[in-house]
Symmetry: D2
Subunit: 224 residues, 4 copies
């Protein structure tokens, strides 16, 4: 059952299908794993219900984050074992002169405690991973991500992390525009809104990426 | 009443509010109007219900498109009167060697009749407008849009057209990342899915843009 | 003998060498050929001395262009035979609303006769080649070149055409920044200034690309 | 007397002039100052002849750097007094996983002592300046420079620092492509090659920027 079941009506799904959207793009031969913004500022330091979690960090997504972390860990283990590249686009601490539009639109983002920027231990980077500090939604915007992926000769991106409707979505769109094949493991991305999470997965599935549960993505990867 | 009323629950809206999202970014002094993909391939040559409309063009959005065209026409009249710049990011006919990921994901897009690429008469470009053929979702991707906006010294973008969940959404994210102030007139953008339209407006309102009805956007513009 | 012999002194070459510049970057496994701006507006319709040639097109480079065309033809034949991709970044006719800084800096560029935009017959595109109209120096700027190269899984670019100090140089810098391996056949690029041509080749050889005569580039390609 | 006098022959200058290059682009109303890579790794900790200087840092440019620093200081004083924005694109320390093409082409760059990354005291940043770590030649590549300039509503860039043939040149080309007006104070940029410095100034003056001595740039700025 797709995550958008009961949210996007059958008729609307039929509308997209009639327009010819939603065909699979498949997988290439050289995958890379993106783990976006899986830092304590988005998960909290422990699993808690959303309205509890935001007392620690206003940007926390609550216990849905920890469910996704479990799935990211499965994907990461596969990538470690195969020696495939893992990249960590992540939020760098904000400084005042870099506020721009973000400071106006989401001022709370300017005031997150320092340990909120630490990577969640269960899926943390190792030496040799590519670290990509970023200050905008897309992992490609104002970063060297494209250069790294060309150097790695990656043709396929597995995009995980947070938030589904924010950095994941915009990174997926850019990856699609750059002609990478994109897979989004639907249970390895997370968001503070259940409905927005589901609808963004629907949008991505229809237009930009193949969306499937982690266990199916793992099966697909094992065929490479 | 916001377009996402009844789709994004009050609790989820409260979740975003608690996390500090959704503050207004306001308007600058030099607005530019983007009319994205308002071509007959997305509206049909006349207002028809969705499942009728797609018989003419599979990429048509049906009668919601024509409601938006009416509102875009109001905004366009204001821009023409004030002598403010109007830009037309639009879909250029596809050729085979440019397929890439798009050809796999949405093959129907490769086979649209030529007159589908004509601009909808009610809001069509005039000599002097900036024409931006594009082949990717964002109006900024692989186009000179940023260069034009810098040349025009624009600080604020009014983004209209189609589809809310596709080219509008991705252009809004890029405009935000580039530090333009962004206004999305909620009834001057359209989509083939009512739910996805609403949720994408919610996402944009929370994170990237000010979202309001056309009549409010017009009032705001008249204060410049 | 390097093209910059007698122009960049031995001592200056030693200065770069001492600083650690100029090591070879080598070749990968999937080359792509870029033929930049080889249109009659830069060659003239026949080989003529520079000051004769510019009577036909003010943007013509004179007979050095035709010498380069001969070498580009050799490279192109190799690419055709191997079935490797060939891409044509080229100047699209300018329209008034797209002038920007270029119209101020080089106004003559706005008034080139239409047949000046035709491709030089000896190295003209065939169906299936990637056509990339551009309006800025770099073949990557505001074009989908990066997307095409990722789709083609290219890892190495052979960059030819005109002018050495303009579009070739800036495309080479962007290709280097994107982590492509870059080869510049020194006698398959051309410029209206002999000295600027030579010094730009020196700069590229020291910092961004491997620079060698066409016959050496062909030998290198034949080893793939 | 232009810096390229005696290097680019009168005939070649006439060739460019005949082709219509080299008209002035002028200045706008909102200038921003870019000080690129003025760190001890490019100047040395004191003025020394080139072959002495590179014993401290292989990437040092010798005493020409210190002459340019004096001129940058004059420009910086003007910008400080007027309250205009100053931005510091600079080289961030390299880490192994970020090598890519650069590590192959200029391996010495990977091994610069930490204090080489410190800013030269005479023109060092103050709180409030925009800091832009970069890893590629152009100050625009994979950085948020464009976003900052749009936020600042800058229309004109004064580009200074090092090296003329490397980061300065490529930043100037990108700034031109983005439609900023660009001024290069010819004696506030520096390079390890005198000839390459001069020819790159010629190239920029013909195609992308207005090139003039610092005292003339200051006069132009004082008219704003």
């Amino acid at each position: 059952m797709k995550p958008w079941h009961g949210i996007i009506s059958d008729e609307e799904q039929r509308a997209y299908r009639a327009a010819g959207f939603g065909r699979p793009s498949g997988i290439g031969k050289r995958p890379a794993l993106l783990i976006i913004d899986v830092q304590y500022r988005t998960t909290g330091t422990q699993p808690l219900p959303f309205f509890e979690a935001i007392k620690e960090f206003p940007t926390s997504c609550g216990d849905v984050a920890w469910h996704a972390v479990d799935n990211i860990a499965l994907l990461l283990a596969e990538f470690r074992q195969r020696g495939w590249p893992v990249l960590y686009p992540h939020v760098a601490p904000k400084v005042h002169s870099e506020g721009g539009r973000l400071a106006e639109k989401v001022p709370a983002i300017m005031n997150v405690a320092a340990h909120g920027y630490d990577f969640v231990k269960e899926v943390a980077p190792q030496p040799g991973d590519v670290m990509l500090p970023k200050k905008h939604p897309s992992a490609f915007f104002a970063t060297a991500l494209t250069s790294h992926l060309i150097d790695l000769q990656a043709d396929t991106l597995i995009i995980t992390g947070c938030s589904t409707s924010g950095c994941v979505r915009s990174s997926v769109v850019d990856a699609f525009s750059l002609n990478f094949k994109v897979l989004v493991p639907e249970d390895a991305v997370y968001d503070r809104s259940r409905v927005s999470h589901a609808v963004n997965l629907f949008d991505m599935a229809e237009k930009y990426a193949d969306v499937a549960p982690t266990h199916e993505v793992l099966e697909t990867l094992r065929k490479i």
